[in-house]
Amino acid sequence: MAETKFPRVFTGAHGPEDGAGETTPWPDDVPPDQDDTWYPLRDDPWRARRMEYVIAAFWAITALCGLGLIVVYCTGGEAQYEGWLLLGAFATLGTGLLLWARYLLPGHDIAASRGHHVSDPEERAAIVESLSRGTDSLMSRRGFLVKKVLVPVGGIFGVAAIFPLASLGNRPGRALYHTKWYSGARLVTEDGQALHVDDIMVDGILTVFPEGYINDSASAAVVLNVGGALVQARHGQADFEVVSGANGIVAFSKICTHAGCAVSLFNVFSMQLICPCHQSTFNILQDCEPVFGPASRPLPQLPLLVRPDGYLIAATDFVEPVGPGFWNRSGD
């Protein structure tokens, strides 16, 4: 071959290493005139040796970092030092390996045949024969056993396999329709403190739970004082609000009707509740209708009453399911 497409590889110039006798040329799928033993520093022993020392120096740093890691660990551990040392150890180890491969190891820029990754046509034909030897006998008598027997039998047996799924206990039942609010439940804060009608200040929201169910997330509600502002209630829900002196007190479910996050931001100027998850915004003065964002239903309002001793209580549970929607939400 006269052409030298790969000046470094198609040799003629440097043949297989001679003298040693044990360097056989690398294998068959390589065009024979490529020199498999070539590497950049092969013909320059002095630089090759110097490169070995450079690599050794890098790996010495690796070892030092390793020692450093042991010291850091034994003195109590400290993430910053560990970070630097790990960085140093791995980076120097890698650099040494890279230099080694790049300058001192053979096997660069070799061209080889891709070979055939598919089978010969004869083999393809032969396998069909083998396969149909089986399928032909399985389907004998026009497939009586398979089509007429196995298919229906498999169907029946398969149906039997579905039944155990019914044992899975956690059927939602009515769980999504109700919360733990009950008639007469006092509104208590996270710390278990029951709220008095005079505790609710204008300008803030409080998160409340039904007394006895402080950790029940589905029951979480926000209660707030709208002062003298008029809350436009939904049809039939006008008496859900408690009016005490100049103050109107309302409570809404805190579970976002979009995807269930806690609606925990309150904009006092626009009287809006905002869900931090996807920014659905609910207008308190308009029965908590969503005015922006992906939520499409208002936050359900909790019907409130005041006990003679001044404590706020729920008149009943929410009158509709709280939180995000589901297939049969409106079914009763």
């Binding site: 970070g83 080889a112 956690n170 999504l176 269930g260 996807h278 969503p290 297939w327």
Partner: protein
């Protein structure tokens, strides 16, 4: 150059090696395979390292993950924390949360391991995404590599789920809100939604005691085993089909040019593993990630603003924000809002991605086998569609940070969401048109954005060989005009063994 001593050492070593390999061959008949394995050639283009980076991230995830698993406690029993992290002292939290706090503050080297694990997950996903982009834009998914495209997309999906399940394990406020949203998405599935959600969580949200045990099992066993199995298949197929390569001097559809696996490529690849580890463990020690002690334990009645999930689920969170407030209600049933952005959209996206190799065949009426890659500019339509998809993805990802961006830019989040809603339509169109134009312009020029310029237009002849036409002069030592990049010029085809080696004709398809 070798001394007598060196030669005799080499002979001794060869004898030992022979013995070991004979032992194996007597039992497994392994010599033939092993030899072809060691002699295997891998091309050296930098973009082919990205998949390897992903693989090495997985290795590091396994190593750090096994360590973390020895300390993590998948229990939702509530305990009161007493420990070195004073701000949380005396606070009640689940044992799961407490165990992750302990990993971070009480277990020596625990914080580095944990942060390295999280950084590895984030970089793993980035590497997978980049790798996928490389495959897409260069047409590496074309016949015969469709199966590896399918496996690759499945790996991406499972890795996403694996990342999300891991992110949720600490039971902190941030990941708890994420789980709440996922519960609502599952609940929104028509007909079976509520039943499915209740059975996965063991009851209404936040679920019963079984939930974190299940999540842990899924995260530390089910998904990693799936990933390992799929990865094995991915690599086995790659091994059999051999790697693709860019067209270039000396490269044809029938040859492969690069480094030998043993020792060149093996050592180089180990170097890459070390560099990946250097970055991941460096970040793990030096750059804080997911400081759950700042977020605090999960409480369903709380959620805080200005928080984002890990970047690779951002696009789904963004989709939930941008999707209009529709719900479908009729006949006493409803399809709740989260179903559309949370199930339908990703379902459609992944269906199209899975089907892409076949869509591409139709688009280009090209059912042939390809071992040489496309330059992205030479397939302007595919490139434009890919860029459009990327812009769409970026738009959704930005939407997941509307509150943060809004604060930064001093725009209200309402405006920002509107802008991004329009952007999700207009952005891809504009991005696609710009990319298309850019491809056409680049085709006219000679500069290859991802490879050393070879000059001229590369054309493929009926034998599958590539030639440069109408080139200027070569820029890296190869002659330009009419230069044959087939691996041998003119008389190379005229017979002898070498010519046949590099231009194997294959079957009736002819390449």
């Amino acid at each position: 150059m070798s001394t007598v001593a060196e030669r005799s050492a080499a002979r001794k070593r060869a004898q030992l090696e022979q013995k070991a390999l004979d032992w194996a061959d007597d039992r497994l008949g392994s010599s033939k395979w092993l030899r072809s394995a060691m002699d295997k050639i891998f091309p050296d283009h930098w973009s082919f390292m990205v998949g390897e980076i992903a693989m090495y991230c997985f290795v590091i995830l396994l190593a750090t993950g096994i360590y973390l698993a020895l300390f993590y406690n998948a229990s939702s029993t509530v305990v009161v924390y007493h420990g070195p992290y004073k701000p949380l002292d005396g606070q009640s939290m689940t044992e799961a949360f407490a165990s992750v706090i302990n990993i971070s503050f009480s277990v020596r080297a625990g914080l580095v391991m944990r942060q390295a694990h999280h950084w590895a997950a984030v970089i793993f996903m980035a590497a997978i995404t980049f790798h996928m982009g490389r495959i897409f834009f260069t047409g590496a998914f074309r016949r015969p590599r469709e199966i590896n495209w399918i496996i690759g997309i499945t790996l991406l999906l499972v890795a996403m789920l694996e990342g999300f399940s891991g992110y949720s394990l600490p039971d902190d406020l941030l990941s708890g809100s994420g789980l709440r949203v996922v519960f609502s998405i599952v609940q929104s599935i028509p007909f079976v939604g509520p039943w499915l959600a209740f059975n996965l969580w063991g009851g209404a949200f936040p679920g019963s005691g079984v939930f974190f045990e299940r999540l842990f099992l899924i995260h530390e066993f089910l998904f990693p085993a799936l990933l390992a199995g799929l990865l094995g298949g991915h690599l086995a197929i790659l091994w059999h089909q051999k790697h693709t390569d860019f067209a270039g001097p000396g490269k044809t559809e029938h040859n492969i040019v690069g480094s030998r696996l043993w020792p060149q490529y093996a050592i180089k690849s180990q170097a890459l593993l070390m560099f990946v580890a250097a970055v991941i463990f460096g970040l793990g020690g030096l750059v804080q990630i997911n400081p759950i002690w700042v977020f605090g334990p999960f409480e369903a009645a709380r959620s805080s603003a200005g928080t984002q999930p890990d970047w690779y689920v951002g696009w789904l969170d963004g989709a939930l924000r941008l999707w209009p407030h529709w719900e479908f209600r009729s006949f006493g049933h409803e399809i709740a809002n989260p179903f559309f952005p949370g199930i339908l959209l990703p379902g459609l996206v992944f269906t199209v991605i899975y089907a892409w190799p076949w869509i591409d065949k139709r688009l280009y009426a090209d059912y042939e086998e390809h071992n040489l890659l496309d330059r992205p500019r030479d397939k302007p339509l595919r490139t434009a569609l890919g860029v459009a998809a990327l812009v769409f993805f970026i738009d959704l990802t930005l939407a997941s940070a509307t509150d943060v961006i809004g604060n930064g830019l001093q725009i209200s989040f309402e405006r920002l969401i509107e802008i991004l809603q329009y952007g999700s339509f207009i952005g891809p169109i504009v991005g696609g048109l710009v990319a298309y134009r850019a491809c056409i312009l680049l085709q006219g020029g000679n500069v290859h954005p991802i490879q050393r310029p070879v000059g001229g237009t590369i054309v493929r002849d009926e034998r599958g060989a590539y030639h440069t036409l109408g080139a200027s002069h070569g820029e890296n030592g190869h002659e330009g005009e009419g230069h044959d990049v087939d691996g041998h010029t003119g008389n190379g085809h005229t017979g002898n063994g070498h010519g046949d080696e590099t231009t194997l004709e294959r079957g009736p398809a002819g390449g």
